[in-house]
């Protein structure tokens, strides 16, 4: 599945959601689009009706980012976190916490960019765990293996309907 434009979502373990997507652009541009506020504001908007009036990014390890979205109906939604690891054009690790979180604790988001023939494969893994577990994972250098592949989950879910 190397086609640009196909979004693949899997749940490799019980606490993770992984996304893979190929973009028809070199990774330095994809990295810019993820880390420069004037670019992030143009696409990280979710469903129709939302704009992003606040997009602040302090791109350094320990630096914070803050996003606020506003809907045409006046509703606002905020999110922020701290960068834990930055390898320019290659890898970003940050914490993520919504102001009104639906899960306990922060999520840890690892984004990697791999370029091949002018195209970039983006993999983003969201790990939802308690703060203690998350810190332990960070200490261990993020070298966690994928426990099991749950591509089968999709099949199972489809059969339940």
């Amino acid at each position: 599945m190397k086609n640009a434009g196909t979004l693949k979502i899997t749940t490799p373990t019980g606490h993770e959601i992984a996304m893979t997507r190929v973009f028809d652009a070199p990774r330095r541009l994809v990295f810019d689009a993820f880390t420069k506020p004037e670019l992030v504001k143009q696409w990280l908007l979710g469903p129709p009706g939302w704009t992003m009036p606040v997009c602040e990014i302090d791109l350094r390890v320990g630096g914070a980012y803050r996003y606020v979205w506003r809907h045409t109906n006046g509703k606002e939604m905020g999110m922020g976190g701290v960068y834990r690891e930055i390898v320019p054009q290659e890898r970003l690790v940050c914490t993520e916490l919504f102001d009104e979180a639906w899960y306990p604790g922060e999520a840890l988001v690892t984004t990697t960019l791999v370029e091949q023939g002018g195209r970039t494969t983006l993999t983003s893994t969201m790990l939802y765990v308690s703060q203690e577990t998350r810190d332990a994972v960070l200490k261990s250098g993020m070298e966690r293996g994928v426990v099991a592949s749950y591509d089968r989950l999709e099949e199972l879910l489809a059969s339940i309907e």
């Binding site: 979502i9 019980g14 997507r21 541009l29 994809v30 689009a33 979710g46 639906w102």
Partner: protein, 117 residues
């Protein structure tokens, strides 16, 4: 939602859910099919039950487990919403990247033009 994912994260539990997809089964039957010991299977069934994924009824001496579709349907709906949000985000990102590439190309052409002159 996360409770469902966590319960399914263990391979044996996932297999139990897959077995129950075909219909309710007594514990003994699952023990045979999974090749696990009865206490292990019971432990997994307890986790699945706590997550609301299975129901149990007692029929004479047997405990019969059945799948409860609601949490799985919720999980599917959640993943589908998640997928839709990121699909539209990434389609907009495609457009941003096209724009960046063309701007880069123009800058390069300008530079090339300047050096030629």
């Amino acid at each position: 939602m996360m409770a469902t994912l966590r319960a399914l994260a263990e391979p044996n539990r996932f297999q139990i859910v897959e077995l129950l997809r075909d219909g309710p089964r007594p514990v003994g039957d699952m023990v045979n099919r999974l090749g696990l010991r009865q206490p292990q299977v019971s432990k997994h069934l307890r986790v699945l039950s706590d997550a609301g994924l299975v129901d149990v009824r007692v029929d004479a001496q047997r405990r019969i487990y059945a799948l409860r579709p609601a949490p799985l349907q919720e999980l599917e709906a959640w993943l589908e919403r998640y997928r839709r949000i990121w699909e539209v985000n990434f389609q907009r990102l495609d457009a941003v990247l096209i724009d960046l590439k063309s701007r880069e190309l123009k800058t390069k052409e300008k530079k090339r033009g300047r050096t030629k002159r």
